[in-house]
Symmetry: C2
Subunit: 119 residues, 2 copies
DNA sequence: TTAATAGTTGAATATTTATTCAACTAATTA
DNA sequence: TAATTAGTTGAATAAATATTCAACTATTAA
């Protein structure tokens, strides 16, 4: 068989399985998927998303709710904005944030149910 | 109003909203939820989970498939085992890993669909 | 019982990243 | 206009963690 790649330090054992799986593997999509989970996978961002799923809120509301500084909240909101997980609208001095769309809401709520059930 | 907590550096703006949301907030569950997403939110672990969702595999198969060392794969499998996301069975020298249960499979596949659709 | 192979493990390194701090912009109001 | 407030930003620090490396265990086969 021989090591088919440079990086691994062993021979493949089930070559047919690996070849079949490799043919179905779309690496770029798996990176995007990992990215999505990575962004939600921080407790501050998870709390923000859960809170915004309950009601739209401004930075100060979130800061008080989560007992954190405006800056820390704002930095994390930027991450969530860049990942298109939240949107916002400005009303005077105040910016209201909310979850981006139903898709995000559903994925988030499904994960929440998963945790609730396994308790 | 006054700063209700020590950590934040501003006053609450929508006190009624924050109070209502705070009453519904279960922090321990939100931490578990973030943990779940954090563990899946690494590209190596995402690839491993996707591959095991396709077919059960041993460490060497995964190492060849992902072009990584046995050690790196093994370390990540341990993380996934500890989070109860994968299980395994031994057959002689070889240990076969697979996704833990339908619950995990479904959450993972749903995230995958989400990414596929938004492309 | 020795050699070979599948897999694990702990320590070290290197990278990523969450929060802090101080300075800043944007909008409002006195 | 000047002062106030909501929010942002960049750099620095501190903490978390993915991979590497070398040594190790467990099972099988010679």
């Amino acid at each position: 068989m021989g090591k088919e790649e440079i990086g691994c330090d062993c021979d493949v054992i089930h070559e047919d399985v690996v070849n079949r799986v490799r043919n179905n593997m779309q690496e770029d999509i798996l990176y995007d998927l990992a990215d999505f989970f990575r962004i939600v996978g921080d407790s501050t961002r998870t709390k923000i998303m859960w809170a915004l799923d309950e009601h739209e809120m401004c930075v100060c509301d979130l800061a008080v709710l989560l007992n954190m500084t405006k800056s820390a909240i704002s930095h994390q909101l930027r991450v969530l904005k860049e990942a298109n997980l939240v949107t916002f609208r400005r009303e005077g001095k105040i910016i209201y944030y909310k979850l981006a769309d139903d898709h995000v809401t559903q994925i988030f709520e499904r994960g929440f149910e998963h945790i609730m059930e396994s308790k």
